[in-house]
Amino acid sequence: MSAIRRCRPPRALAGLFVWCLRNTGVRQIPYQFVHLYHVANDRLITFQYFNFLKRMYVTQCNKDLSQRAKLKSDSIVSSFHELQQLDQEEKVVHKISPVSPVHRSWSETSSRNELREMKSAAETEDSVIPVGAKSKEDRQWKEMKLRLDDLPGILARLSKIKLTALVVSTTSAGFAMAPVPFELTCFLLASLGTGLASCAANSINQFFEVPFDSNMNRTKNRPLVRGQISPLLAVCFAASCGVPGIALLTLGVNPLTGALGAFNIFLYTCCYTPLKRMSIANTWVGAVVGAIPPIMGWTAATGSLDAGALLLGGILYSWQFPHFNALSWGLREDYSRGGYCMMSVTHPGLCRRVALRHCLALIGLSTVAPVLDITTWTFPIISLPINLYISYLGFRFYRDADRSSSRKLFFCSLWHLPMLLLVMFTCKKSVLEKEDKSDLLGRSQERALEIRLP
């Protein structure tokens, strides 16, 4: 059954469009996505595009996006799919239906195909799991020699550069929300440090997961899986990003931010990554990993861990659950075969309950924001519609537990967070307002003193 995607105005606003460059020699990172959904019956093609560059898309925060991200890039039904190549543009049509994949149209690039991920893991006809790439290039034997001009592309994919960019944007959101005057150097240093730390963490994650990545469709084209880079080089790269990154944060910004960054790397690589294969608790740990970058942004600006930082972290923490649980609903086969312990496979009821619970928590957290003096009271009021909407979708997911509701919830989460952060920023309580208030108080006190003193 094909899913019909209605083009919603708010989503249409969020950009569209991917240029996927063919992988030839030096690969450039695709920075946009095109997603076409095709309705079998009436041949309606609804286009949905997500533009990741324009953004505050925090779909991932220093987490293993690969888990959430994509689904098989090769599950395509030939009868319904068109593959056009206009110069360097590739559009892929996915038919969302449990029809066996017929053939693979192009070799997967390193893009984050969050949308493609939602495609159902079609039941296959063969007795062999069709994870392998079928494109001619991938069928050849390749020399394991590192070419210098390939290196930037390889390192970009190793460090999951797009995910890193999103993490950095969450950090900047945290920085922006802090109630202090904006300092450009501090902002840049914090962003750079966080970016480097994120690169390091992602590289180590890929280093640990080579055989598992090769067995999952979404991740089978990673550099270590394809042998484009040696594990030693991956570790050296991670060290050369992580150490300067943390040093930059500790010395250039403040020690608290540095400590948080180091802790986050540790949490991601040494706790979340192994835990993924051991227990479902990994989702909660991963949510914390995602919540820390905005806290880092806040502490970079203010130098202290206030309630505001924790609130921002809390919002991101809660957001991770509907986002990830909805996403993982469609990946159950890959997770089951790959041996990943995810709620959607082992405790499906819990999966949906938790997603709903945290959607509702978002409403609560948005209400707390003005209490803590971070935003004005307009924030909970303006954000109520979008929070209610995501909660409604969370409820539908909870009740229906099917692919269409999970996909709806997932796509909603993609635009919900950037919007929420944007609204938060516009409703931010101005620093000047607070200064005026304290000034007034001070002046009235002085006057009172003057009156008392003869």
Binding site: V128, G132, W141, E143, G227, P231, P274
Partner: protein, 147 residues
Amino acid sequence: PPAHSRSDWIGPPDKHSNLRPIIFYVPPEESALERRLREARQEAQASNQRFWARHNRAFCQEKEEFIYSRLKAKGLEMRDESGQKATLNAEEMADFYKDFLSKNLKKHLQYNREWYKHNFRITFLMGQVALVRALRWLRRRKKIVEQ
């Protein structure tokens, strides 16, 4: 891979294990350390291949059996009138996925431990080999400069 090549070659993913096999180049003047590294990599590759090929085959087989038993319970045949293979929807398959994961959890835990050990050992040996090679290169440069 061509006979004159002096580097390792990596191939397309294996049909059963989805892992990419590597053919290692054995240089004539291979040192003991390099030999240890190569053997460690070969051993890891073989062990991974064995595990995943068996695991994936078991997955496919059990999946087929599950589909068959469920279809039988529903009173349907494996193939419908048009000759297409009958499938179950995602919700019904979810039971199978949950079952399969819990059955294989212990196997995975053991494999994880082994894989991490292999990975660290190989990377450490690679580091040692790289260090030795770098020192050798530096020594040679020094000699050339002195001459």
